[in-house]
């Protein structure tokens, strides 16, 4: 895909379903509310959180409220790619 052709969100998050215990703290904490609980049960029998697919700002809040060491990974749009995206700064940045 071409970075200039697609409108990228500032951030992305993903949940490792092996580590998530479905506590829901990330959903509660996410400012734009872009995390949901899946219906799928993981290996241990927990429902797990999942990213809705768009709207993440890359603020990292979900990462710090999640009690599991590696359940959440947050990514941010690289500076170069970000320059191609119009819009405001990284509101709610917490890194």
């Amino acid at each position: 895909m071409d970075a200039t052709a697609v409108k990228h969100d500032r951030g992305k998050m993903c949940v490792d379903e092996n580590e998530c215990k479905g506590c829901g703290l990330c959903m509660e904490a996410c400012p734009p509310k872009v995390i949901a609980m899946s219906d799928h049960l993981n290996h241990y029998g927990y429902k797990t959180a999942e990213y809705c697919g768009e709207g993440c700002t890359g603020c990292g809040i979900c990462f710090m409220v999640c009690p599991e060491p590696g359940a959440i990974t947050v990514m941010r749009l690289k500076a170069k790619a970000a320059a191609a995206v119009s819009g405001s700064g990284l509101e709610g940045a917490n890194a």
Partner: protein, 488 residues
């Protein structure tokens, strides 16, 4: 592991390096921690791991985990780990910091651990201003054991041991650790934070990093108390438990900085390393000229036959029970053996019973307790009755008395029963009976050279007159043993 790589994006938040990649737990559970969903311990672990990463101190960090739900912290942190006895983490951290000043020592503790059984340890570590970092996870309850009241439990809060709620008449007031420790002069940084919402969590992250950083700068004692949800014992959802921290718990435990002297604090000089063993005698004031410095005679132990002697000595206070054991152990030490001497006496200083455990071994000693003695020295009848049955089959009982009580007789042990007190009286002093018995024991054990016995006597007996008397008593004991054996 989720390692989604998307070219336009860079990872900004992911599992900190200070965590192990997988956990050496039970087979099925290599990825998941043992914490319940929404447990605050997980958040605090993550903050600590991030701080360790950011400060670049992973290689020199030692985490002391407590007793409590976080007892298994060592499964998760890829740093040095020691698991301390309940409440003792600050004492362990103190010892390790002093002996390894370059290490970063984290004492990680729950509220039961820190405020109840470990109340003394934390108070004194703080009062000494030890250059350690204490992470104090306060969930207001004993969680691991199923929810008993803790000193930190809120007034009115129900627990298994306060089913009607904590009452101040019965259990006292919730203990405010930060306020209490902030009255001391030594600590440099004390802050209470919470996990009640995003803002609190961000502040907690900063505070934990500061508390570790202070130590790396050598500034002194730092403690961060974290109000932390325990959804399981509180019987709440993870989100409700988080709200409870902010809405309820925080009222009893106000957040904030209770002490911050970091601006004016000067790096503390690390404690001087412990003096070399060779200087110990001088420091302890052992000066007598005739004693040569005790060399570690490893070779002797190595090419000598294997020795593993278990001795129990028992009698009344004043019979020289402890001294007998001490001389035996000291002689073993002089002969290059591993030794232990463990005295055990009742509360009465006089007319009470006392006994000691002595082990002498050519290998390292696993426990100083002597449960199955090879030799029992019973200096009176009550001691014989108490320990006779414990003697290892094939072992020896040396008994101080005219006749061996019939009901104590065993077919599977050897007995040397003589009126040792009278014998000692005949050669000069009844109080030398212990040395007569020791003489017999030395013959039985056949493990220690006479020179080592002499060295031990010289070290432990102050008066010349007594050394001389004891030498005679020992010789008498050796002879009595041989006479008895010939007589058999």
């Amino acid at each position: 592991m989720s390692s989604v790589i998307i070219p336009e994006y860079e990872v900004t938040h992911s599992r900190p390096n200070a965590f192990n990649k997988s956990y050496e737990r039970k087979g099925e559970l290599k990825h998941a921690t043992h914490y319940c969903p929404g447990c605050g311990h997980g958040n605090v672990h993550k903050m600590l791991a991030e701080a360790i990463d950011q400060l670049g101190i992973q290689d020199r960090t030692i985490l002391i985990s407590p007793v409590g739900c976080s007892v298994f912290a060592y499964y998760y942190f890829d740093v040095g780990n020691v698991q301390a006895a309940h409440g003792r983490a600050p004492a362990v951290a103190t010892a390790m910091k002093r002996s390894r000043p370059e290490s970063i020592l984290i004492s990680y503790q729950g509220d039961g651990d820190l405020t109840a059984i470990g109340a003394a340890e934390i108070l004194h570590a703080a009062n000494r201003g030890e250059n350690i970092t204490v992470i104090f996870v306060n969930n207001g309850i004993y969680s691991m054991t199923g929810g008993q009241v803790a000193p930190t439990t809120l007034v009115g809060q129900k627990s298994t041991t306060t089913p009607n709620g904590r009452s101040i008449e019965n259990e006292g007031y919730p203990m405010r650790v930060c306020e209490l420790l902030a009255t001391l002069e030594a600590p440099v940084y004390i802050e209470r934070v919470g996990l009640g919402d995003n803002k609190q969590i961000a502040q907690a992250t900063r505070a934990i990093k500061r508390a570790v950083e202070n130590q790396s700068k050598g500034l002194g004692f730092s403690l961060v108390e974290v109000l932390s949800p325990c959804p399981t014992i509180w019987k709440m959802s993870a989100v409700d438990a988080q709200h409870w921290v902010r809405g309820v718990m925080e009222k009893t435990y106000p957040l904030g900085v209770y002490c911050d002297k970091t601006k004016d604090a000067h790096p503390r000089t690390p404690h001087a390393p412990a003096p070399p063993l060779s200087e110990l005698r001088k420091i302890m004031g052992i000066t007598s000229e005739e004693i040569s410095a005790p060399e570690v005679k490893q070779e002797i132990a190595a090419d000598k036959k294997k020795v593993d002697l278990h001795v129990r000595v028992a009698g009344f206070g004043g019979q020289g029970v402890l001294l007998l054991g001490e001389i035996l152990a000291e002689a073993g030490l002089d002969a290059g053996m591993q030794v232990s001497w463990l005295p055990s006496y009742g509360p009465e200083m006089r007319s009470g019973t006392s006994n000691c455990h002595v082990r002498i071994s050519s290998e390292s000693i696993d426990s100083p307790l002597v449960a199955l003695p090879d030799v029992l020295i019973a200096m009176n009848e009550p001691s014989l009755r108490k320990f006779d049955a414990s003697v290892r089959p094939g072992g020896w009982v040396l008994y101080n008395g005219d006749t061996f009580p019939g009901d104590c007789e065993r077919k599977d042990v050897n007995v040397l029963a003589l009126p040792f007190t009278n014998i000692a009286l005949e050669i000069g002093d009844a109080r030398a009976a212990n040395m007569v018995m020791l003489g017999a024991l030395l013959e039985i054990a056949d493990a220690l050279p006479q020179a080592s016995i002499d060295a031990a006597l010289n070290r432990l007996v102050k008066s010349k007159k007594w050394i001389e008397l004891d030498e005679r008593a020992l010789q008498m004991g050796r002879e009595l043993y041989h006479e008895a054996c010939v007589g058999v």
